[in-house]
């Protein structure tokens, strides 16, 4: 039981730190709000969707930036998409990193784009690992409570 409390506290602290450090914002809270009995894994599902989507977009961005003639319009559209989806799950820092990226796209600044892409990738990997940790912790918590149930 103590372990569970500890886990709970850990999870709470971790979530708080994520918010504090700006990895996540209120939108994530809203997502969690939307999760209920009818959608028990809603957050995980959406975030996984986001991961898939973001990885696809990042790959596309990388390839299109690697090309000789860069289609900035397409690039911009991709970044816009990433920005939208990241803001929707509340991945604030990815979202923020997308803003200068878009500006560079409109300026057609290749160097800036590459730099921004790195930044976005970095933020994305960060938020991904953080969220994965978060989900793991939640899982652990769930497992422990299940275990508790069994014990009881």
């Amino acid at each position: 039981m103590d372990g569970k409390v500890q886990l709970q506290k850990q999870l709470f602290d971790y979530t708080a730190s994520l918010f504090q450090e700006g990895f996540l914002d209120n939108q994530f809270n809203q997502l969690e709000q939307l999760q209920d009995e009818s959608n028990p894994d809603f957050v995980v599902e959406v975030v996984t969707l986001f991961f898939d989507d973001a990885e696809r977009i990042l790959n596309e961005l990388t390839t299109s930036l690697g090309q000789e003639k860069i289609d900035f319009k397409r690039l911009d559209a991709h970044v816009h998409q990433l920005k939208g989806s990241s803001s929707s799950i509340g991945a604030q820092r990815v979202h923020e990193a997308c803003i200068p990226f878009r500006n560079f796209c409109t300026e057609q600044n290749v160097e800036g784009c590459l730099k921004s892409l790195q930044q976005v990738k970095h933020e994305y990997s960060l938020v991904k690992s953080k969220l994965e940790t978060l989900f793991k912790m939640e899982e652990e918590l769930l497992a422990s409570s299940l275990a508790d149930l069994k014990v009881v």
Binding site: N26, Q30, N39, V46, L49, H80, Q81, G84
Partner: protein, 1139 residues
């Protein structure tokens, strides 16, 4: 010379550039003081480069000028000199030639004459000797000698130039005449005859060596030849040279140059033998010597005239004649000898001869002719010319040495002067030219500097503008970033509030937080609006909207606040106001919201009136609805408004533009007249001390003015009687042609209505009653409970045929008195209609009580024209129904109540329908005046105004919970009830077009949580297809997978009912974006009369995006990330409208 000049010039240039540099440096230093460092660096580099370029250009121009002028000088000088020198040289040559030729000719003459005389002497001698053929005796000899002497004298005296004539006879006798040129004496010299007899041989040696021979000399008169002196013996050495046999060995004439001690000059002597008659033997030798003196004389004369030197030499180099007085013979003690030319005492001649010898040595050119110019002798330059006179036996060489100065002196001098003048002139020109260039380029460089400065200033200005632009752009762009978190906070608070698990305390706190957040958001919006207006990004929409409705909504919204402040808020729009106008409704509302907000802030008690009228000459005629004070104001403003009127008339005739005047009149603390203009500036407040009291940023009025100006209007504060502020503004809005005359004019005059206004607020009661009176409705007023009862009693006990009552029931301080009051009023229920005016915080107890009693006609405060019209119409309608019912003998049933209840719950959308009904009813009503119900149809406007102590807190909070939503968003008012109950969007079918899966998922869940059925598609094309029912089965499955939460029935529903209630459309999508899809959908709708609401979902928060969305036919606009609450309200408003 030229290089020197260039050197000097270069030096000059260097010094000039140095000076220039130093001056520019000081100039820059000055510059430094004024301008920022960065700019300075920028400018200085620019300046520096320009300076360098100017230097280079200057230098180049100067060097070119110098070269040009130098070349010109040199060429001029060269040509002048060359031609002069050439012609002079040829002339000089001729002169020299001529000069030399003359002495040579003279020489030639001398030689010739000498030869002639010699020949003549010879011939004469032959003749004399032949005539004395027989010389037998001494006397014969003497006779012959005498004859010879006479002949010889004759010859000698005839030739003055002769130096001597000698005749030497074969026997050794010598006869000679000698002229001493020095003393001008003439001598006769002869030998002693005695010795001659013996020696026959004509031997020179003998003669000279024989000392025994005695020589005699007699001086003669040079003219007559008479003896003037005695014969004197002289030594042989003193005698003159006598031509002897040795000189004519071959019997031919011989020439030689000899010297004698009697003369300084060399003598030319010629010798010829005298042959005897048989021509076989020489009998005598005749010798003639001629002094070359005359040649010398000539030379001297020539030289005198022309200067320079001449000399004649023999071929071997012995001097024969010179133009100088120097002796030609060596002055040795021995016999005088001829000098060589190189030994001449005269320096010039010596050097000239030496020069010639040195140059040519003995290898003279064959003709011996030499012409040399510029031979340097001593310190001067000379011309040296030599000519060769080839005489047989005596070749002569003539040399003339002329100083160059003599001939070319003037020319050289002139040439030098010319050169000097030319060079100085060109120097002057160069200097002047350089100065000119300097001055010129100075101007140019100054201009360049100025231009550079100007350019840098322009650049700086551009930068500043750009940065200001960036700032605005940044702010405008930030709107999204700033609003999103705020919206999230508010949305989350809403979610929290909608949760049921909160305790009351928590609920209050969260509500407070929400209020604060809303305030913050409003502030944020204000700042963003301002920046938007300033950056020129604000685009006013141009859409039709119901101005009256918007303003009523606004007043409704503010009434809550006003009632809390105990301030009346009154909307007073004149009847001629157009109902529908074109413009930007949000901005118009914002203007009035800001103004009213401002008024509320500063008004602690009294009233706030929002007046509106249309500028129209007629409106002044019947402004009875205006209060008296306003009338005065209108009069005072007439001059101004008339001007506007004129302009307005013109414009309104052309394009239906209208000028709408508005006033916001409050009874607050007022504004000092000196601040009337400045309050409209940003961050200005009339009294700084009020900031502390009332708060605020001072942005509101600034935004208002910006917006009003943008709409072609003006706002100002005008003078007002009494306390408070009166803000007057006008807006230019276009009114659709068909809508201008659509005033909601209902004729109530014929309905025999009596209205009793029982309203607590004086101002609103006054205005309402005025309006009612104007429209022909009999109006009575009561301001408090006692008055009301009084009037009621009077009305109903007097039993006057037709009455209409309107009440304002003001509750006294007792707690439960309202019940009694209701009961009291209920007594009149049968005879009068009571309209209860409810406050937002009216307690439920009151409401239920009223309902229980059957008073179902309730209206929310404040009461304004449209509501009044509505009430009247409904009353008339109800009366009509009742009349009908009465006619059919049906008692009033609850059904009617519920109907009416329904009709009052709804908005005023049915106004038009109701009014048409009302007019019908009024006719019927008037046709049955005797009816009891008709007679005593009373309207009771009952305001439940609670004092603080009257209302229990709990009730208040509950009612707030219900009505609080209304104040926030007037559009949603219909939906709030639903929120509390079931899921708000229950039964709605929504098509969601969104390409980003994440957002798709989130939105789906959100919507489903609200109870809607969601179909999600990935792009615009699919959305169009789905709407057209051509969506493939597979796609449907895919969707169904996506929304696994949905019941199975929903799937079948999708297939069976392809129509949707609403579409949520992402703007940026692959294949077909939201705009395209919307256009497509709208196109397909054309003709069908069907209009599916489309809500844009976009991550852009700019007004232009919004405009674009609305332009393509979307109905509303939501920004990402999706705000739960906002989405709900938007969807509800849209679906409601449709319903």
């Amino acid at each position: 010379m030229a290089t020197k000049c260039m050197h000097v010039f270069d030096r000059l240039m260097f010094s000039v550039t140095c000076w220039k540099k130093s001056s520019t440096q000081t100039g820059r230093r000055k510059f430094h003081r004024d301008v920022e460092k960065e700019e300075f660096q920028y400018a200085s580099t620019q300046c520096l480069s320009s300076y360098y370029s100017v230097f280079v250009v200057r230098l180049a121009i100067m060097v070119m000028l110098a070269i040009l002028i130098g070349l010109l000088t040199i060429l001029t000088w060269h040509f002048t000199k060359i031609y002069t020198t050439k012609s002079l040289n040829s002339l000089a040559y001729d002169l020299r030639y001529e000069l030399l030729q003359r002495p040579i000719l003279r020489m030639w003459n001398i030689l010739n004459s000498t030869a002639e005389i010699t020949t003549a002497q010879v011939k004469l001698s032959e003749y004399v000797i032949r005539s004395h053929n027989k010389l037998a005796t001494q006397e014969d000899h003497v006779e012959m000698y005498e004859a010879m002497r006479a002949v010889t004298w004759a010859l000698f005296s005839s030739r003055k130039a002769l130096n001597s004539i000698t005749v030497k006879y074969g026997n050794g006798f010598v006869q000679a005449f000698h002229r001493d040129l020095k003393d001008n004496n003439t001598f006769y010299i002869y030998t002693d005859l005695a010795y001659n007899e013996t020696s026959e041989a004509l031997n020179d040696k003998e003669i000279h060596n024989n000392k025994t021979v005695i020589w005699y000399r007699e001086q003669l008169d040079p003219v007559s030849g008479e003896k003037i002196g005695k014969a004197m013996k002289i030594a042989p050495e003193d005698s003159i040279s006598i031509a002897g046999m040795s000189q004519v060995p071959d019997g031919v004439a011989s020439w030689h140059v000899s010297v004698s001690k009697f003369t300084d000059s060399p003598l030319l002597s010629a010798a010829l033998p005298v042959w005897d008659s048989s021509n076989k033997s020489i009998v005598a030798v005749v010798g003639v010597t001629t002094a070359l003196y005359s040649v010398e004389q000539l030379m001297k004369e020539l030289v005198d005239k022309h200067s320079g030197h001449m000399y004649l030499t023999s071929q071997k180099g012995y001097l024969l004649a010179t133009s100088t007085n120097d002796p030609l013979l060596t002055n040795s003690t021995k016999k005088p000898k001829l000098k060589m030319a190189v030994d001449c005492d005269n320096e010039v001649i010596r050097e000239g001869a030496m020069w010639l010898q040195k140059t040519y040595g003995n290898n003279f050119p064959p003709s011996h002719e030499v012409h040399v110019e510029n031979a340097r002798l001593g310190h001067q330059q000379y011309y040296i010319d030599s000519f060769f006179l080839n005489l047989k036996k005596l070749p002569l060489v003539g040399v003339i040495i002329l100083p160059r100065k003599h001939i070319m002196g003037q020319a050289d001098q002139r040439a030098f002067k010319t050169l000097v003048i030319l060079i100085s002139a060109s120097l002057c020109i160069i200097v002047i030219g350089c100065v000119c260039i300097l001055i010129l380029t100075n101007g140019v460089s100054k201009e360049m500097n100025l231009r550079a400065e100007l350019i840098s200033h322009l650049e700086a200005r551009r930068k500043a503008e750009a940065s200001s632009n960036y700032k605005s752009q940044f702010l405008a762009n930030m709107s999204h970033e700033l609003r999103t978190p705020m919206a999230a906070v508010i949305g989350l608070l809403d979610i929290l509030l909608s949760d049921d698990c909160l305790t009351n305390e928590q609920y209050a706190t969260v509500t407070q937080i929400r209020k604060c957040s809303t305030t913050l958001l409003r502030l944020l919006n204000n700042i963003l609006d301002l920046s938007k207006v300033e950056s020129g990004k604000l685009v006013l929409e141009d859409a039709e909207f119901d101005l009256g409705k918007e303003l009523e909504g606004l007043v409704d919204m503010f009434s809550v606040q006003c009632i809390n402040h105990n301030v009346e808020i009154i909307l007073d729009l004149s009847d001629d106001m157009p109902k529908i106008v074109r413009g930007d409704s949000d901005r118009v509302v914002q203007i009035f919201a800001n103004l009213i907000n401002n008024s509320i802030k500063f008004t602690l008690s009294g009233h706030i009136i929002l007046r509106g009228w249309c500028e129209n000459p007629n409106s002044y005629g019947d402004n009875e609805s205006f209060t008296m004070e306003q009338k005065k104001l209108v009069c005072s403003q007439k001059t101004i408004t008339k001007q506007h009127e004129n302009t307005a008339k013109k414009t309104s005739n052309n394009d239906k533009k209208m000028i709408l005047w508005f006033e916001v009149d409050d009874t607050g603390c007022g504004i000092d007249p000196s601040k009337w203009d400045s309050v409209f500036e940003s961050f200005e407040q009339a009294d700084l001390s009020t900031t502390r009291l009332h708060g605020g940023t001072g942005l509101g009025l600034c935004i208002v003015r910006s917006l009003v100006n943008k709409m072609g209007g003006e706002i100002k504060i005008v003078k007002k009687e009494g306390p408070g502020t009166l803000m007057r503004l006008y807006l230019r809005l276009t009114a659709p042609v068909d809508a201008t005359e659509q005033h909601c004019q209902v004729d109530f005059a014929n309905n025999n209505l009596v209205v009793l206004l029982a309203l607590h607020g004086n101002m609103s009661r006054l205005i309402t009653s005025k309006w009612l009176n104007k429209n022909g409705v009999v109006t009575m007023e009561a301001s408090e409970w006692n008055g009301l009862t009084q009037v009621l009693k009077e009305l109903f006990h007097a039993k006057t045929p037709t009455h209409n009552n309107d009440f304002d029931a003001h509750y006294s301080a007792h707690r439960d008195i309202w019940k009694e009051q209701i009961n009291f009023l209920h007594k009149y229920y049968a005879r009068a209609k009571f309209i209860w005016l409810q406050n937002h915080d009216s307690s439920n107890n009151v409401k239920t009580e009223l309902r229980k009693k059957g008073h179902i006609l309730t209206v929310n405060k404040p009461l304004y024209k449209a509501k009044m019209i509505h009430i009247l119409e409904d009353v008339i309608k109800e009366r009509n129904i009742e009349v009908q019912k009465k006619n059919t003998i049906t008692p009033r049933t609850t059904v009617k109540e519920s109907d009416l209840h329904e009709s009052f719950e709804i908005d005023y959308n049915h106004c038009d329908v109701a009014s048409s009904d009302g007019s019908d009813i009024s006719e019927i009503g008037s046709s049955n005046p005797s009816s009891l119900y008709l007679k005593s149809n009373c309207l009771l406007g009952l305001t439940n105004e609670y004092m603080e102590q009257n209302s229990s807190r709990k009730e208040a909070s509950v009612s707030k919970r219900e009505k609080g939503e209304d104040s926030e968003c007037s559009r949603v008012n219909g939906s709030t009830k639903a929120v509390n109950g079931k899921k708000s969007l229950e039964g709605l079918r929504i098509l969601l077009a969104e390409d980003t899966v994440v957002i798709q998922r989130v939105a789906t869940i959100m919507l489903e949580k609200m109870g809607a059925v969601v179909v999600a598609v990935g792009d615009g094309q699919q959305a169009v297809d789905a709407l057209n029912g051509t969506l493939g089965v597979e796609d449907c499955r895919k969707e169904s997978l996506l929304k696994e939460r949905n019941k199975e029935t929903s799937q079948t529903e999708i297939l069976s009912f392809p129509a949707y209630d609403l579409i949520l459309m992402d703007c940026q999508m692959p294949k077909m974006d939201g705009y395209e899809a919307t256009k497509e959908i709208r196109k397909s709708e054309v003709g069908s009369g069907f209009h599916i609401p489309i809500v844009a979902l976009t991550a852009h928060a700019m007004s232009c995006d919004e405009a674009k969305c609305l332009e393509v036919g979307m109905d509303a606009y939501l920004t990402k990330p999706i705000d739960f609450k906002l989405m709900e309200s938007t969807i509800l408003s849209l679906t409601k409208e449709k319903a």
